[in-house]
Amino acid sequence: MEVRELTLKEEKMLHEHITDYKKRHGKKTFVLRPGK
């Protein structure tokens, strides 16, 4: 791991990636078993 802040370019890239992934795969809701 590299401990630093994200650059603006990386922030944008991350946001776009997640937005696009959510569009393609929909909202995910997992229910964890008690104890997990």
Binding site: M13, I18, F30, L32
Partner: protein, 150 residues
Amino acid sequence: MLNTVTNEKVECFTSEVLKGDLLLIRKHFSFDWKSEISKSDTFKLITLSGNFIHGLISIRPKDDCLELRLIESADINLGKKKLYDRVAGNLIAYAAKVAIENFEGYMMTISKTAIIEHYCSSYGFVQIGSSQLLISHPHNSKKLVDLYYE
């Protein structure tokens, strides 16, 4: 965790790092965790006895996902003569659980270029483009929780 001497599985837990832990942390960890604690949520991996910290992780929210800032195993759990294996995996699985509970399972980290492949093959992260950004998608985070939380 897995005891590398006896090959036995040892139950472990995560709990929040307290100021009183800093002395032990300074002795067995190389990173400046005192500074990290002020910037993010920091958790320790302990066994039932709780008298030793086997690993540390710091996490924080990053927009719509969870950011893994730093993970470190204690000195006794490093290298070929490590006492316990799966320390990092357990800590990443804990982060995955937090990500599932709060961010639909999305978690990310910034990786050093040399270990990108390790994070992808060992923990299922995916590299975003050719950047240093790695992401764990919801299904992978769930898989990590299932693998490490028995």
